[in-house]
Subunit: 511 residues, 2 copies
């Protein structure tokens, strides 16, 4: 219903024209995810070597609570060095409790997400300190920017969760998580992404999600309604807030993605195999902690391996190395039966052709790798320092096209068009056939931003390139935005909780 309403809003509700079914965008499937950048033997070798490294060298865990959990499960813990060594058999046992598929529940059930299998979902940019648009320029992110990105996410059929698109730097740290997640819950009915920055802020965000979804405490804990991303401190270290995050989310049965920060040449070896080995080792350690806390906790394997620019040490995205790593990561995640997260990201400092090529290169790697959650796939610019409104709109348009392009070709008598083929003479055309007339309005995907004007029309309208048109379209999308309905009692409870926590000073994140 929401989907249909959204379509009518865009097209006008008078029904003057048949509408193409856009449901494939809401629940995309990727049939092309089984690619192999490694032989099966090499996958096995990397997995075995990672387990051996975990057993012999181990990982450093800075949070005592986490070390105690590892020790309780049978890992070797050194309380002087903080090193945790996990036996290979123990690791395999813990990995075996990970669900290979599950549902991430949205407050609107139509927006609940199947994670795993041949499903693929797309989440927009997350994390940048800066926002950018042609109108405002590049500036420190604000709560208003976060709200606008949330609304654009809600409006875009091909985006499936609300991300921390940009840091709301105008809100103090102790209150930021409260205001952003309140906004995410009110302005969208898609699953929300939380930051895991300590027990206090996480507990407050969980309560917001529970109230916004109208759940009892038991209902909240029974299945995942929100999620977070955990980055390790590569190499081989789990810091305090991240360890807390794993514990908090696993304990509450909420989804947690373990993403080693393995940038080859900096925090990881300069060789891809070495970076992937480190990624796998760290991911397994973090996944084990979640399964110790709650066997069966919904988790995913994060593949972020890319490379740095060796002259500057700056991370680079959309590189050939990141594409190869994403494909290989798919094999490693499948080896242990865990859903895969990777990303479609770019290095370009502006919303130009370079950014488009880079995003598409990493998207190609993500899809070939069988990624289930493609993060950062709309609006990620400048290596993740900026969330760009123009790039957001450009990427949404591209994602819709690619998702449509993943659909199989339907073959039946009507689709084979035998009558039309018999009807049209050699050298003729199909414009007027009954077969065409019955289908032409809905046969093809129609772009929103990409132009098919001829050069004359395009020049007359000002020769605007796609980025300039995206700048206009993002404003129109915001103007057309409609807030999704929320029961009044849920909204009241949500607002009341926000007001009380703000009055109490919120919670400072761990550092």
């Amino acid at each position: 219903m929401v989907e249909r309403a959204s379509r009518e809003r865009r097209r006008g509700s008078t029904g003057e024209r048949p509408q193409r079914d856009r449901s494939a965008l809401a629940h995309p499937r990727n049939p092309y995810g089984g690619a192999k950048a490694l032989s099966d033997d090499e996958v096995e070798h990397i997995h075995r070597t990672a387990l051996a490294q975990l057993e012999q060298q181990g990982v450093k865990v800075l949070l005592q609570e986490a070390r105690a959990l590892f020790a309780g499960a049978g890992a070797q813990v050194d309380e002087d060095t903080f090193m945790v060594r996990i036996g290979a058999d123990l690791a395999e046992t813990l990995l075996s409790t990970i669900p290979s598929e599950f549902v991430l529940h949205a407050r609107n059930p139509e927006h609940s997400l199947h994670i795993g299998g041949d499903s693929v979902v797309f989440f927009p940019v997350g994390g940048p300190p800066y926002a950018s648009s042609r109108e405002t320029g590049r500036h420190p992110g604000t709560l208003a920017d976060y709200r606008d990105f949330t609304r654009l996410t809600q409006r875009s059929d091909v985006l499936h969760a609300v991300m921390p698109t940009v840091e709301a730097q105008d809100v103090p740290l102790n209150l930021r998580h409260l205001h952003t997640i309140h906004t995410a819950l009110v302005d969208s009915d898609k699953p929300a992404t939380l930051f895991a920055r300590g027990h206090g802020p996480v507990a407050e965000q969980f309560e917001l999600v529970r109230l916004g979804h109208g759940l009892t405490h038991e209902e909240f804990l029974a299945r995942p309604h929100c999620w977070t991303n955990i980055n390790t401190n590569s190499p081989r270290q789990l810091d305090i807030p991240m360890s807390m995050g794993i514990i908090d989310f696993a304990r509450a049965g909420q989804m947690v993605i373990m993403t080693p920060f393995t940038l080859a040449g900096a925090m990881a070896p300069v060789t891809l195999a070495g970076a992937l080995l480190l990624q796998h080792l760290e991911a397994v350690a973090a996944l084990c902690l979640a399964q110790i806390v709650r066997p069966g906790a919904p988790v995913a394997y994060g593949a972020f391996t890319s490379n740095v620019e060796m002259r500057s040490g700056a991370p680079a995205f959309g590189t050939p190395e990141s594409m190869r790593a994403a494909i290989a990561s798919g094999q490693l995640a499948r080896r242990i039966g865990v859903p895969l997260r990777s990303q479609a990201s770019s290095t370009s400092p502006t919303a130009d052709a370079q950014g488009a090529y880079e995003t598409m290169t990493s998207l190609m790697g993500a899809l070939l790798g069988g990624t289930h959650i493609v993060m950062h796939s709309a609006g990620w610019q400048e290596g993740g320092l900026t969330a760009s409104f123009e790039k957001f709109v450009l990427d949404v348009e591209a994602l819709e096209i690619v998702v449509e392009g993943l659909r199989p070709v339907l073959v039946d008598d009507a689709e084979l068009a035998l009558d039309a083929l018999a009807e049209v003479a050699p050298g003729g055309h199909f414009f007027g056939t009954a077969h065409t007339m019955a289908r032409f309005e809905t046969a093809f995907h129609e772009p929103s931003l990409f132009t098919r004007q001829n050069i004359g029309q395009w020049t007359e309208e000002g020769s605007l390139d796609a980025t300039a048109r995206a700048s206009r379209l993002h404003q129109r999308w915001l103007d057309e935005y409609v807030q999704p309905p929320m029961p009044a009692d849920h909204r009241a409870a949500l607002d009341d909780y926000l007001a009380r926590r703000v009055a109490a000073g919120g919670s400072m994140p761990e550092s």
Copy 2:
């Protein structure tokens, strides 16, 4: 040698820095080409239905010489209606003589191309009447534009043949093929693409290729040194120059690609399955003609199926429909064991992000489909009406990245970096390890055009987007261009033949 010289030219020959091996760009492999948009049963059904249509409805062949060849091979020919009906058994017999892999020979053996298997080659834009650059604007193509594109092609490791990048409209039609192919042979040592526009112009171009390569007549005919593309007049018609082209190229043992012009909604049914059925039927008919002329003639299956914009009837490229069609076409070509040609093309009227997304979308379809020859993959703009210098440079950069991204991940003890992993403490970094120091200069692909500058540096240098930088880079590449060597006697014979044919008035193309 040429490859090494080319690298030294770009970097300076003082050898101050180790160079990354770029040989993967000259002979790329695609391990990801087996994707399926159709079930195996559906492939079989489309193939069988196409053969049944060829047997029952047939195709219209406008050239009497071609109809006679079909009749001689056992097809049913109606000389009143020009319809040729090919029995299914006859078609299968003729298809069985097609080589699934072969070599297209360049005058520089290092640039000879393996066609088929898991090889993939990239050819730039072909056919536009207009050229465009920021400096000159959009203008009717000239021989100077053609020469510049030829030089850029020669210079780009990831481009593998010289295409008719742009029509040299300043050269009269009767002489155009002579001047362009002379330029292609002198300014490049990669295989040349000829237009098949009648027996006369083709014979002259063959002679230019023979002389430029320094071959006897027997050597020329013994293996393919050049090639052409044949478009059918969809639906179900082969016109006179195209039929002549098939005969001329097959007779001379030169490569010919059969590309039905099946734009869904216009010259083909509005449904993809119908358009693919028509494409397959027409491709099979054209392939049969080539095999009648010369069993074993080197041919390829052209997959051009895309859709039109239904409001205007204009062709659209980089669409989801073209991506799906390319993947399905790969299955149909594999069904009959014929190398596949498709393309990476775009609709955008300018070298912007839209063009980049569209090119990458169709490139994704081409690679998933196991395309062996990716035509139009650099510089194709405005639905093929314009060859853009900026887009050419942008696309070359993107192709290099994607080709590098197709490489498997190497796994051995050195690549796994076990020593480095043991050496770096948890939370440390790999910048200074011996493992990194030994590799950092060549570990990663380095872009030529795409910037990894931080926002400060980039702003200081003028905030140039990738298209603006491409405009500068295309001039630098032309300035750095070095003509490949050609034996003096070959060059003299080539120049002499050109002069004589020009003096004699060349040959008018068939219309």
